[in-house]
Amino acid sequence: MTTTISLTDGSTEDAPVPAEKREDGSPLLEIRDLQISFTTATGTVDAVRGVDLSVYPGQSVAIVGESGSGKSTTAHAIIDLLPGTGKVTGGSITFGGRELVGLNRKETEDLRGSEIGLVPQDPMSNLNPVWRIGTQIDEALVANGFQGSKAERTARVAELLGEAGLPDATRRARQYPHEFSGGIRQRALIAIGLASRPKLLIADEPTSALDVTVQKKILDHLEVLTAELGTAVLFITHDLGLAAERAEHLIVMYKGKIVESGPAAQILQDPQHEYTKRLVASAPSLASRRIQSAHERGTEAADLLAGHADEVEATVSDVVVAKDLTKVFHIRGSRPGAHSDFTAVDGIDFALPKGHTLALVGESGSGKSTAANMVLGLLEPTSGTVLFDGKDVAKMSRKEQFALRRRVQPVFQNPYGSLDPTYSVFRSIEEPLALHRVGDRKSREARVRDLLDMVSLPQATMRRFPNELSGGQRQRIAIARALALEPEVLVLDEAVSALDVLVQAQILTLLNDLQAELGLSYLFITHDLAVVRQIADLVAVMKDGSIVEHATTDEVFDNPQQQYTQDLLAAIPGASLEIGG
């Protein structure tokens, strides 16, 4: 199933046109010593500090970096689309030998679209919801001097959409963005970006908002299309695996500077800079294994316990069991009395053994989060049961259910949204303790300090507010809050998906350590199979509300039984790459 280019040793010679061979030709885009600053209330912030890069005609280059590294800022500066107060304060950008810094408005407008195209990041917000897809492409044609009648333009629009891989393009052109899925919208955005045949296409995280199988299809298509048209591509991505798979030349950015630059394979196998080494090491891929340290410590802990009490661990009991769990949503129709049913979760069974991690994996819309919400008791199942320690949650009294909440705690995806911005860190963590009337003020404060220690944050953090903390720190706070009531089960709903890869690795390690120390059981909801490999013992793959495959992690990864699982595995960026030296 792996159709991706394999970048193992020596394969650079086979790559279409390696960058190094073109050093004598003149580059299409050349950035020299670029400096970009933002003016804020507290002074100027240098977002990009002396960046040099070149893109040759037809070449694909990727800039890799975490959020805040200046990768997108660099890309947007090329077509003068810096947000807010951003300004190029030094250096030069030349395109086809022409200086772009300091062009007037008209000249920049002429350049955009016709010479340099952009495929933006989020397909949900980048199409104007009030115009038809066709109109939005037509605009691009007209603005860039397409000569032709209305009918010719309409035909051209359909042709472009078809080329971007939209079936039934003529009809699609008359539809509005909200009638499309994310993948189709992204294809429309690609059609817009390539509408006027630019020489350079800037692809700014073009697929980071999409499911992995959709991402693969779209990137494959984009690759074929740009190769046919001879378009140079500048990829902006946070995903090292994706960058290496899709680009010949990699540029690694960190804190506004380029720390490493070179052919993709070379950087992956022999990273020179400290940051790149860490990035390569923590890139989740199929090659990575379950994080070991914690596991070993867990075994030790179990041994100690075993010495203490004999009855421990004869057979591991299941702490959470879902039996034939089903959730049907009634969708009210337009006509009086008319409604349709949508089965989000369709009779699934799974069991979470005590002290272990079960990953529910699936793409968006597969029902994994709905299942998690039923386990948390936030949604009532339509039918089927959730058993907690063998007891049916639905049959519990209100009081028992309230007590149950202490034993099952959630950590959600977005650490920016799940912490109340008006609560101090202390108040956020203390709230569940106060709610369940645990201890007095003094003992609760001591407990908050313990919890902050547990998630490796300084105790002084408790006087701060969420907006003063980074994404990774906030997720640690969210974990501390979840642990406050000493739960037995954590439901982690995409808990690391919003984090940069290095931070993600830290949080996963933390979760592993906590599991070993506290004997926690995790229900881990994710779309990211590479993460699953690092944390889960058991995997349940969900598709369209059903579990298609349920086995141990090693079985699923080494010997996937279902076609769907195989597709998912094959679609992980960098799946076929050898990472690390």
Binding site: L81, N128, V130, E139, A143, R335
Partner: protein, 308 residues
């Protein structure tokens, strides 16, 4: 779409019944005997008073009076005023004047409100934006009768550019000043609403995409920023049409215009329940229809909204 329209039109029935009942009850609860005050100093002879009371069913209990009123409406007979003119005639005479006034005010506030709001929003934080914001606050704070009287003195009396009052059968010119006065508050609100909406949309991702396509600045502004910013503004304008109808009561008083507001004002002073209820009901109906139109327009502006 038809289902939606049908449902909305069906909603008019309970609103209409509720509005008339409530208005009728309010008028009924007014203290004092309207007939007693009709004859001036000396009052009308007892026999005539009795006759008028019987003619207008004023001697009947409340619900009977209301049912008589409803019966009148469904037989297209709205009844007569105390002076003997059919109420329908009074409505037909007053309505077009107020309508013209309201539409003129609506045009003024919409054109200038959206125009200034767009301009200010595109130049957020600059001199024009800041000064327009202060001015709009001032306009919102000033009561209509203050702006009305000031304009009358300055533009009407001192400068003599426009007629001071409108009087009977007003033309476009004489309604201009009242329309401006009527429009001021809403103008300031539309301006602020448009400005906020524009500021929000200017930084939207799809606007950046539109610029990346190579569209000229004017095209981006008109097709992507303004177009999307109009959606909340349109909602406000719909609600405001009703406010303009009621706001005209004060403005018509200041400028001596015999529209819905002026007639209603006189009817309230006389305690002429039939006229009060009918005029107020007309305003309620205009409100309902305006909001229906806005909801339909909403779907045109925002394709994500579909009424099925």
């Amino acid at each position: 779409m038809l289902w939606y329209l049908g449902r909305r039109l069906l909603q008019v029935i309970p609103v209409f019944l509720g509005a008339t009942l409530l208005l009728y009850a309010l008028v009924f609860l007014r203290p004092g005997d309207p007939v007693a005050g009709l004859g001036g100093e000396r009052g009308l002879p007892e026999a005539v008073q009795q006759q008028i009371r019987a003619q207008f069913h004023l001697d009947q209990p409340f619900f009977v009076q209301y049912l008589y009123y409803l019966k009148g409406i469904f037989t297209f007979d709205l009844g007569d005023t105390f002076t003997g003119r059919p109420v329908a005639e009074v409505v037909v005479e007053a309505l077009p004047i107020t309508f013209q006034l309201a539409l003129m005010a609506l045009a003024i506030e919409t054109i200038f409100g959206i125009g200034f709001g767009l301009f200010a929003g595109m130049r957020k934080g600059k001199f024009f934006d800041s000064s327009v914001l202060v001015l709009s606050l001032l306009l919102i704070a000033l009561p209509t009768f203050v702006t009305g009287l000031v304009l009358q003195i300055v533009v009407g009396v001192r400068l003599d550019w426009l007629p001071v009052t409108a009087g009977r059968d007003p033309d476009f010119i004489s309604l201009l000043m009242p329309a401006v006065v009527l429009a001021t508050t809403s103008f300031a609100q539309i301006l602020r609403l448009t400005r906020t909406s524009v500021i929000e949309n200017v930084t939207a991702d799809f606007v950046r995409t539109a610029r990346a396509k190579g569209l000229s600045r004017d095209k981006v502004t008109s097709r992507h920023v303004l177009r999307n910013s109009l959606i909340p503004v349109v909602t406000f304008i719909g609600v405001d049409l009703g406010n303009l109808m009621t706001g005209s009561i004060v403005v018509e008083g200041i400028f001596n215009i015999r529209g819905v507001g002026g007639t209603l004002f006189e009817a309230i002073q006389r305690g002429e329940s039939v006229t009060i209820v009918t005029m107020s009901t007309v305003i309620v109906l205009v409100y309902i229809v305006a909001n229906l139109l806005v909801d339909l327009l909403y779907a045109v502006l925002d394709p994500r909204i579909r009424y099925a």
